[in-house]
Symmetry: C2
Subunit: 324 residues, 2 copies
């Protein structure tokens, strides 16, 4: 396949794989390659892999039509010089100017942004956020990430690290969070925490002689419990699963209400792997935000599912070039 | 006294009194009048009192030098048309275009903004915020209000009601808050809540036969307990008072850490009546924010006292004209 018109390459850098795609002006991914990120081999190896993935796309589509390359990266992307700071699960990495390296290699415009921010930007231009000037974006997955769209632009903060909605506390005495604090919403609903809590609840229920659809779905191997299993059990009417997911939604709603009160942004868009939870969870989030925010905000609260799924990273990265 | 050079009038509208002042370009209040707000007599009466206070200043200083009038008002000030919406403790008030009425009367430029935002703006231009492009402003008093300064400008939110830092939750199961939610920081450290909690603690201590400097300071009349008394007792080394104020600082720090993580704004300025607490309370706030925010923010955290005290409202209102 060769794209005759101009396109942009979006690169979604992750700790496991690098996904790079050809993105057209309508935000569609026309082609995509996936390479190993080699995150444990240090920054040079990672940059080499990014370059490799782009070369693969050029081989298939020619580079003449390429208007530029956008990169979404984990970690903080410094406002000052675009350096990527301390991305989690990358070895020997402090402060690396990834975009500069890619720019030198290809002599094309290259832009870089934090990956959660990229996904928020993608939803703003091509997804559920199209109709809203301002929204909070939440990535509910392994961790809980986020982005803040103000007046159709990403709010980066003074140094580029804003939007960490996952580290809004819902209980000052809550469980320890990976970040070093306590009671952050991530420490209740992030994948590992949610799965661990469910495992304990299923084990306790079993001790009381109660059967749970969750236990049946993983055939008794509780190590296999993960959010998709909990959602699945909830859809089968399992009370334990419904309870855990409703609680998760309620707690997320509480964290979001705090942010709504500070920013007066009334639209929330939720993506990420765990956002595939059943509708009743979104209803719990919505109801909690509505009941907790200051009265003038209540009627305007909207909590929506993200639209772009796994492609949001690539599309958002490409958007950095399309909407410079 | 007659000001020979140009000046601006700042009006600080409160539910009890209206304070209006002549403010010079350096943010100094050169003269000030105070009139009854007549908040229980409806919007017309309130506007009449605002006009009266401005006339009194004109009589003393002449109106030739007046470049305009800024008004700080409780309630939400709508972004769309500057209408003041539902200010608490004002009777028969829904949506009133106060600025328009004053503009028509005097045919001068008139600007209006929420009172907490005005105080934040005052600190940004003339107070503790002068050196910072971005800061969170907290008014710690009867309630807990706030304002967000981004890039030296107030962040108003899409509808004008942003900055309600007092309604960030620190415990989703916490005490009921005046706003209808639970566990907002205001419901722990606002004047009434703080005084009530102290009253109960003093009464319980008395039952155990423990004496507290707080009880002595109010001569046993616990109804007289208020934050200044608690601060006073703490300065005398009273353990109960120190404990209560340290806890208040810790909880405020927790709420602020959530906001810092979302906005990446690392400077916090705290004003309002209760901010006259001893230094150890500021230390508790600072330490809590530092220990709870994401690692990259820690070293940059600053928690400062506001500088302008009671005058912040008038000065901030005048700033609306000076820095249009």
């Amino acid at each position: 396949m060769t794209s005759s018109s101009a396109y942009v390459i979006g690169v979604d850098l992750g700790a496991t794989t690098i996904k790079s795609g050809i993105v057209d002006e309508e935000g569609r991914i026309l082609d995509q390659v996936v390479v190993d990120a080699m995150a444990l081999s240090g920054p040079r190896a990672v940059i080499r892999q990014i370059v490799l993935s782009i070369r693969q796309l050029f081989e298939r589509h020619g580079r003449a039509g390429c208007r530029g390359i956008g990169i979404g990266s984990p970690g903080v992307v410094a406002s000052s010089d675009g350096a990527v700071l301390y991305p989690p699960n990358f070895a020997d990495w402090k402060r690396v100017r990834v975009a500069d390296a890619v720019r030198k290699t290809f002599r094309l415009p290259v832009a870089i942004e934090n990956d959660a921010n990229c996904a928020a930007i993608a939803e703003a231009h091509f997804g559920s956020g199209k109709r809203y000037n301002d929204f909070l974006f939440v990535i509910w997955g392994t961790g809980v990430g986020g982005g803040v769209i103000i007046d159709r632009k990403i709010y980066r903060g003074p140094y580029g690290g804003a939007g960490e909605i996952g580290h809004v506390a819902v209980d000052h005495n809550g469980p320890p969070c990976n970040c070093g604090s306590r009671g952050c919403i991530e420490s209740y609903i992030g994948q590992r925490y949610l799965s661990d809590r469910t495992r304990r609840a299923v084990a306790e229920a079993a001790k009381r002689g109660e059967r749970s659809a969750i236990g049946q779905l993983v055939k008794g191997n509780l190590a296999k419990i993960e959010p998709a299993v909990i959602s699945n059990a909830a859809l089968r009417g399992d009370r334990l699963a419904i309870g855990i997911l409703t609680e998760a939604g309620t707690l997320l709603g509480c964290a979001l209400a705090s942010v709504v009160n500070v920013l007066e942004i009334r639209t929330v868009i939720i993506g990420g792997g765990i956002s595939a939870v059943p509708d009743f969870v979104f209803e719990a989030i919505r109801e909690t935000v509505r009941s907790r925010v200051l009265t003038p905000h209540r009627a305007g609260i909207r909590v929506l599912r993200a639209k772009l799924g796994n492609g949001a990273g690539i599309i958002g990265a490409a958007s950095l070039i399309y909407f410079r």
